[in-house]
Symmetry: C2
Subunit: 339 residues, 2 copies
């Protein structure tokens, strides 16, 4: 369906300069005199010229695009971090292209291949768990990549994130300190999602250290949606004795749990406490406010952009960046009800 | 930074078939015998082969990618519609690449050029208001595009959306029917955002029909964030007499207004009513629930995908698709307080 495309030569002819000058204007505009740059910019706009991927990549090995594959756009979990990543890249003239995998490892691998096929200069992927072939592909192509939303001391790849297990452990510890013993958890689907699995591990670790366990009937895995979170909470609320607290794998699940608790005629935190993970807008607007793990989404996105740009510039493998999470105490977590 | 890339020939050699068979396996896998397809798929994975954009596009004029430029990923406004668009495209083997413009028309134009430079088969853009050069560029390139989140009877481009003005007018009409007369509005920034502007027009239209107006001090434009929405609401709450209702340009602004109202020691809806627009998760979890305009985000995304795929197939200019919005009544809207 493509028509004849305007060329670099067409732009040069219309603006009365050499193709080298046009090329310089597109790649390093500060090195071109303002009036010349204005003429070239006008010609580019009038002709509808866009730098041809092939030629530009061959000329400079750079396409000035970075690809990111995220599990979903359906909720706001990844929104703020991605936005910060995009803004930081954009400030350096790099366009971020995002695609989604629906939490499906095969789909993620396909999206990585599609983005590599579009000639991205770098890639951002969420978490660490994926088929070794994806890592092999990225390394064989020599395309720098950064893993985000995850960090652990011995991660073999460049990562910018936080210790999901440790953050969940700290939250479970607070819950234990308040006297809770009948502790339930609504986790994300752990298969193929190392962040969800690490959060379960963290909760288990805190309970183990107190001689407690997380029995199978007190752990429900759930899609990350309000509706699924509410359904998972209904199953937990039907148990006798009822759990005194529900630790949720993220804030969306916690918001679903609030709805189920309200529908059951119970109240947060008088009858049952709830905690979340992420500290997205939902956590602020729930009533009572949600006690949750604050994830520094903006700093994570910015740090990932900086790391990726540095890798593109010098090719060295950087150290991972570990960001601190914190627990934000709001009204949803209190001591368990008596009895 | 790119190393020597594996070629179609490498894949053919390793899997013991012709390059034509490899090409068919990549473009129409159902036309290849399962055992042959498995051999080729293995070879593709082992070699880390990805179809080369240039060759593939020249061979078939299709890159099996669609680009979307959205204003922001920072909140969940566009999340559900984009996700539905992505799922529908993905079911047809098409990858959606999303980039963001930060509500900046120049930035949007740059992102459109970047995506065209990556060789997308089609584009999805939000709303109708943009520089004519962007439309000229898209038409000159012969790349099909669909506008979403907007629909009006005489829109000259293919659009899938809803009548923003009419939806806002209907909400304002409900507010008037309940007896409100001191009506305020927190709108999105209208410059360069035809959806935000249309929602203001709709509210004005309903008030005009009742001989009322929306004076300048009762209309605050605000960035779409919780914090900015709260700040805008504080300005409105400081007025004497106070408005009895705040119509918000979207649910994020409404959530911000709730926070400001609570901080002022007032209650929704006893002291002041609040309405939203979008019906995203936030609207469900606010307490009381938010009365808002329900936008059929999933159906809009799916319809946009179908339209784009049909345009790609036959090149005909389709009719626009107008989806119905509806008002969801929850607890945040009541009659004005006496006096």
């Amino acid at each position: 369906m493509a028509k004849d495309l305007p060329t670099l030569e067409d732009v040069a002819r219309m603006s009365g300069v050499s193709t080298a000058t046009v090329s310089r204007a597109l790649n390093a505009p500060k090195r071109v005199r303002p009036e010349t740059l204005a003429r070239i910019t006008d010609a580019v706009a009038q002709l509808g010229y866009t730098p041809h991927f092939g030629g530009r990549a061959l000329a400079s090995n750079r396409t000035f695009t970075v690809g990111a594959v995220i599990p979903t756009m359906e909720n706001a979990i990844f929104a703020r971090g991605l936005q910060a990543l995009q803004e930081q890249l954009s400030a350096q003239g790099v366009t971020l292209l995002v695609s989604t995998s629906n939490y499906d490892p095969d789909e993620e691998a396909a999206q990585v291949r599609a983005l590599l096929g579009r000639g991205v200069d770098g890639m951002v992927l969420i978490g660490e768990a994926r088929d070794a072939q994806v890592y092999t592909l990225l390394e064989r192509r020599g395309v720098p990549f950064v893993l985000v939303w995850t960090w652990r001391p011995d991660c073999p790849w460049p990562c910018v994130g936080f210790d999901n297990a440790e953050a969940a452990r700290a939250m479970a510890q607070q819950v234990l300190d308040l006297g809770h013993r009948r502790i339930a958890m609504i986790a994300g689907i752990t298969r193929g999602n190392d962040r969800a699995a690490a959060r379960v591990d963290g909760v288990r670790g805190a309970l183990d250290a107190h001689g407690l366990s997380l029995p199978a009937d007190r752990l429900v895995e759930s899609d990350y949606s309000l509706e699924a979170g509410a359904e998972a909470a209904r199953r937990l609320l039907a148990q006798t004795p009822r759990p005194t607290v529900i630790l949720c794998g993220n804030d969306v699940l916690a918001a679903g749990a609030y709805a189920a608790i309200r529908d059951a005629g119970l109240s947060v935190p008088a009858d049952i406490s709830v905690t979340g993970f992420d500290d997205i807008d939902l956590a602020h607007v729930l009533s009572p406010g949600l006690t949750t793990v604050h994830v520094p989404h903006r700093r994570m996105g910015e740090a990932a952009a900086r790391m990726l740009l540095a890798m593109g510039a010098d090719g060295a493998a950087p150290d991972g960046v570990a960001l601190q999470t914190g627990i934000v105490r709001r009204g949803s977590l209190a001591a368990p009800p008596p009895g």
